[in-house]
């Protein structure tokens, strides 16, 4: 039996949940917004399997589950009043703690997913773990430093946010952006060399990896129409480090982004995301990612000691 915990308004959560049920896996599904209104929980930190969630008339003892699909989003700021907001924030914290120590296969343990918040350190540490190249980067709040960096990038420079908050990558254009560099003093911004070439998204699930090449007319393919998508086999020198990286981080499911540099053919690591919105990739891959996740959740054996 699986437990699925996330927001009914989150398409990624409902997409995998629906697929797990269609695959014939038994699952109890809990919407975190409903849980904030009328749910409660008790977490035993020493004996996690004795913890339970209560929603309506039903108690969900966590020791009864063999796996969990967890996509916790902090919805406290969308709550209609302060009391509900505090309740939701508290529950978010408690559920994060619980699913970090839960004696079951968890996709993904919440606290191990927070590292991508500091993108530069995350990218630097992960790329060195896997021995991947990454784009030359400069995170700064100094307009002179930014100008120097931009000049040093012969093919152009890209800028984006430094945190895990969603921002679009933009190509720096002097005519549009030079005047705005003075605003850097208010907020550091991440600049990277522009690397022309197709993107590759790799989804790792346990010991498996699924890759898709995306050729786009736009810099950030997420904003573009007319992209070309192609399933590809990963070279072993990319595939194995990706799987090992996830294993070392204790995160069974990750979306990892690369660019294949035009000319050199080098694979350049961009970032790794432990809460990927993967449904589009999965639909194009005929459900392979969902099936791998279902297998992982159904058959992965995790002992209590290993979870702790």
């Amino acid at each position: 039996m699986l437990i699925c915990l996330g927001s009914a308004a989150d398409e990624t959560f409902t997409y995998l949940t629906g697929n797990l049920l269609r695959m014939g896996l038994e699952a109890h599904v809990i919407d975190i917004a409903s849980f904030a209104y009328s749910g409660s929980l008790q977490v035993d930190l020493k004996k996690p399997s004795q913890s339970f969630l209560q929603l309506g008339q039903r108690n969900h003892f966590l020791g009864d589950y063999s796996g969990a699909w967890v996509r916790l989003i902090n919805i406290s700021e969308q709550a209609p009043n302060e009391r509900l907001s505090n309740r939701s924030a508290d529950q978010h914290q408690a559920l994060s703690i619980f699913f970090d120590i839960a004696p079951m296969a968890v996709v993904n343990p919440p606290s191990r997913s927070g590292g991508n918040y500091a993108k530069v350190a995350h990218g630097r540490i992960l790329s060195s773990l896997a021995d991947f190249e990454m784009p030359r980067s400069c995170l700064t709040d100094d307009q002179l430093v930014a100008k120097e960096f931009i000049i040093s990038c012969p093919k152009g420079a890209v800028f984006k946010g430094a945190s895990g908050q969603k921002t679009w990558a933009c190509l720096y254009r002097k005519s549009d952006h030079a005047e705005r560099l003075r605003l850097l003093a208010n907020c550091p911004t991440l600049f990277q060399e522009y690397i022309p070439g197709p993107n590759v998204r790799v989804h790792v699930v346990g010991n498996q990896a699924f890759a898709e090449k995306i050729t786009s007319p736009e810099l950030d393919y997420r904003t573009a129409k007319g992209n070309r998508y192609e399933a590809i086999s990963l070279p072993l020198e990319i595939r194995d480090p990706c799987i090992l990286m996830c294993k070392n981080l204790g995160i069974p499911f990750m979306g990892i982004d690369f660019i294949i540099e035009e000319g050199s053919g080098n694979w350049i690591f961009l970032e790794a995301n432990s809460a990927p919105c993967f449904q589009g990739y999965d639909i194009r891959a005929n459900g392979k990612i969902c099936r791998a996740l279902g297998d992982y959740l159904a058959f992965q054996e995790v002992s209590v000691d290993a979870a702790l």
Binding site: S40, L41, Q42, V43, D44, L45, K46, N86, R87, A89, D90, Q91, Q93, A94, I97, D100, I101, S111, R112, G114, G115, Y117, A118, K119, V120, A121, H122, G123, R124, I125, S127, S128, E133, M134, P135, R136, S137, C138, L139, T140, D141, D142, V145, F149, G161, A162, S163, G164, Q165, N186, C187, P188, T189, L249, I268, L308
Partner: protein, 278 residues
Amino acid sequence: MEKKLQRNHTTLLILANKGDEAAERFDSFCRSLRIQTALITDLRHMHLTISANRMGAAAVQLRVRPRGAIVGAVCNFGLTPTRGGDWDFRSGELLASWWSALALFPGPVLNRPTLSSFVPEVQPLSLCSKVPNLDMPDSWISPEGARVESPETTNVHLLSSGAFLGRTDGGPITCQGELCRFTTFNPNSTWRLLVAGKSLFPLDMANMSSDITEKRRAMLERLRGELTKTGPLFCVLVLSDTEDGIALLAGHPFPHYSQYRHIDKVAHNAALEGLTGC
């Protein structure tokens, strides 16, 4: 040891929230040794640049505005980014930038952020899973209204802020907040441990067992090894002697000055030694 910081004419950056007495006292201590410091309580008073090449080698430059003093070492006493009009986005970007900067800073950092956390990971759940035989106490999270009648002494803290709500010595106690954390312990065998730099200082000698066994010494060594893997720290742990060894009841990543006032000079000295490696 302080000569290292004096000699290379760099500044010791102390990051802290406004009014943090531990940071202010540490700042005074360093200045008394003629170490150039900058106590920063607002990140807008700093310049930050991180450069990384293709192989991932990173250079981090931190400068104090406006005079441009270059930072050679950092003490992270915990800092909440200042709120502005668009503080949600901006404070998030500032926190992420400083998280990256301190994680990658090539010089010494007291309380260096890790890949998964900006603050030192000293909570029982984290440490007990990493240090063999370091025990977890009986501890649980319960919702508002939950009544507890424990035969043992039980502390109650708010989950969200960690604020202490009360204690029961066997009688009933009710959770007054949304979610509370309950921890049972024996008050007669509970003591606090300050980690300063790479040194450990027991803070409550009266409660410590006089019989410091080899087993306990070995446990503290393992604890020190795990804690200082990422570099020198400044934090307080609450521990309890048990029949089998030691249990970790709580961890405070950024100590209050009142917790170590009686040994402040030794503690500050050890923190500085941790930074300078002497």
